[in-house]
């Protein structure tokens, strides 16, 4: 699980008893939070509202109506077309991430309903290779868009990605065109596409399908941009302005429709889909 690495801190309580992995520290306000409290609060710090990353399965549970989810991803498997090797062969990296997440690549999702509106939801998995987009992510998104169009569903994609996957080089780059063009199947059928940007969404993912939705929502404080802050800093050789490339900054610059706290994400998404989806009003509450 992606949550494992959050629990680095150990905290000693009462009588010097060591209680590992039950507490963690909020990186924003440094408060010690009881893990169960954090989970009960949708992985949002109860003290300061900092949004921790949410796992893909929890994301699906958060957004879809209970009992409606049917997984569609998982059949598309990665290859190693370039036999890429840097400090570690790509094949071994893939195996390691598969082991860690239990999934073949950095995307998870399927069909379901959002307050009754038929939807196809895809969530990018940051825990798998930083949510990077290679051929599998591109293929799942293209298939998702095509299936949503064929079945009259809204498409919702939750982005969480460092960008394109370097180990698939030019083929990763091509996924930007492939996913972008696949979205037009929805356009033709007047079906809505909502993009939810979470921390972080950068590079080739922002610069393709994630930026092209009818409505773009973002979680608070998420890093969103084209180039990463480190690259920009190197280029301009200056410190970056406070809050640069965070959700609120992007809202201010006109790139997003709303910044929505996680507790209101489901209801906001439902409202948008209800208003945009051709059968939204009819299927509401069904």
């Amino acid at each position: 699980m992606a949550l494992d690495r959050l629990f680095r801190r150990r905290r000693t309580r009462g009588g010097g008893r060591d209680v590992p992995e039950l507490w963690l520290k909020c990186p924003a306000c440094e408060a010690q939070i009881y893990k169960k409290d954090l989970e009960a609060n949708l992985m949002v710090c109860p003290e300061c509202g900092h949004h921790f990353r949410l796992g893909v399965e929890e994301r699906v549970r958060l957004l879809l109506d209970e009992g409606t989810f049917e997984v569609t991803t998982g059949r598309v498997q990665p290859e190693d077309p370039l036999r890429f090797e840097d400090t570690e062969p790509y094949r071994e990296r893939l195996a390691r991430y598969r082991e860690k997440t239990g999934r073949p690549d950095a995307i998870y999702g399927g069909t379901g309903a959002v307050e009754g509106v038929p939807t196809l939801l895809l969530a990018m998995d940051y825990a798998f290779a930083g949510g990077s987009m290679g051929s599998v992510v591109g293929e799942e998104i293209a298939r998702g868009a095509e299936q949503a169009a064929a079945e009259g569903r809204a498409l919702v994609i939750v982005a969480a990605s460092g960008g394109a996957r370097m180990q698939e080089a030019a083929l990763s780059l091509m996924q930007m065109a492939k996913t972008t063009m696949a979205l037009d199947r929805l356009w033709e059928r007047r079906l809505p596409y909502v993009s939810i940007l979470t921390d972080p969404t950068t590079g080739g993912v922002t610069a393709s399908f994630a930026a092209l939705a009818d409505v773009i929502l973002a979680e608070p404080g998420a890093l969103i941009g084209f180039a990463g802050p480190r690259v920009i800093k190197q280029t301009i050789r200056q410190d970056l302005p406070e809050g640069f490339q965070r959700s609120e900054f992007l809202l201010q610059h006109g790139m997003l429709d709303q910044v929505v706290p996680r507790e209101r994400l489901r209801s906001t998404l439902a409202q948008v889909l209800r208003l945009l989806h051709p059968e939204g009003a009819k299927t509401r509450g069904a």
Binding site: R75, V76, Q77, P78, E79, D80, P81, L82, F84, E85, D86, T87, G134, S135, V136, G138, E139, A142, A164, R165, M166, E168, A169, A170, L171, S172, L173, M174, Q175, M176, A177, K178, T180, M181, L183, D184, T202, G203, G204, T206, A207, S208, F209, A210, A211, L212, G225, F226, A227, V231, I232, T235, I236, L240, P241, F244, Q245, H253, G254, M255
Partner: protein, 316 residues
């Protein structure tokens, strides 16, 4: 300024030149010697260029003297008129756009533009566009659709500019929009990678029905230097990264990312730009002619099918 692996070729060329001058000056016949050296030169050039490493190709792709967009609109096209501005914020000198005539018909041309001197490179931002450049490109796509003219794009950028202002004005957003807009073109679209095809900043004008690449150009998701800095944590590993990325014309042809390689004259396009442009003109004419029979909807569908099959996956 010569590349390291070009040195022996250039030295031999210099010797031949000297001998010729000497022969002329002294009025002696050195044609046998010169002939032999010529043969040696040709052999050396052939050998050097047949065994170029990927990293050497990257250096060739960046060599000053290669045909740029402005060279091509002047030499391959006729009657070019440059059109400026994004109608929103500014004109981006890293992107050149306009109308021209090609083999008797009007076309719309958009391309990245690097400078030939340091001063010009600063003006052109080393061919790295801001959002305004892509907005200008999209204006040109509208123009092509409105008049039914073929759209030709010329790619030569290290990447879209990674700066604060570019981020503030939605670099990711305009790249995405430009990809989408180009995908929707109802006219034939041919993209040519002239030199550097750096990531999304290149792809933004790379959604052609046909994608061509000059023999010594590169195209990938990241530059070898940046890739090395991230994966090897050492930018000096760029050579290894270039190998791993498989970013040359021949690699990309094999991966199905490009449709056609435009051959460069011996020694590279930077040494014989006219001949390189001649080869490009011929390839461009053939590709545009091949697309002519397709109707507006067929062209959109053709482009979707072309990019839809990109990638390497296995279905279980």
């Amino acid at each position: 300024m010569a590349l390291e692996f070009e040195q022996p070729i250039l030295e031999l060329e210099a010797r031949i030149r000297e001998l010729r001058e000497y022969a002329e000056e002294k009025d002696v016949d050195l044609s046998d010697e010169i002939g032999l050296l010529q043969q040696k030169l040709e052999r050396l050039q052939k050998e050097t260029f047949a065994n170029l490493s990927r990293w050497q190709r990257v250096q060739l792709a960046r060599a000053p003297g290669r045909p740029t967009t402005l060279d091509i609109v002047e030499n391959v096209f006729e009657d070019f008129i440059e059109l400026h501005g994004d109608r929103a914020f500014a004109d981006d000198p890293a992107v050149v756009a306009g109308l021209a005539r090609f083999r008797g018909s009007s076309v719309v041309v958009v391309g990245h533009q690097k400078g030939k001197t340091t001063k010009e490179n600063i003006h052109r931002n080393f061919g790295m566009p801001h959002p305004e450049g892509y907005r200008k490109a999209m204006r040109m796509m509208d123009l092509a659709d409105r008049f039914g003219f073929p759209f030709v794009s010329l790619i030569d950028t290290p990447g879209a500019y990674p700066g604060v202002s570019a981020e503030e004005r939605g670099q990711a957003w305009v790249i995405a929009q430009s990809i989408q807009r180009m995908g929707r073109l109802k006219v034939p679209a041919v993209a040519v990678i002239l030199g550097e095809g750096g990531s999304g900043g290149a792809l933004a004008i790379g959604v052609g029905n046909r994608v061509l690449i000059m023999e010594n150009a590169w195209y990938s998701v990241i530059s070898p230097e940046s890739c090395a800095a991230i994966l090897w944590r050492d930018a000096a590993q760029a050579e290894a990264a270039a190998e791993a990325l498989k970013l040359t014309a021949h690699d990309l042809r094999e991966l199905g990312v490009v449709d056609r390689i435009v051959p460069e004259p011996g020694g590279g396009a930077h040494r014989h730009p006219e001949r390189a442009m001649q080869a490009l003109a011929e390839a461009l004419a053939e590709e545009l002619e091949a697309l002519e029979p397709l109707g507006p909807e067929e062209l959109v569908e053709d482009r979707y099918r072309r990019f839809r099959r990109m990638g390497a996956v296995r279905i279980e």
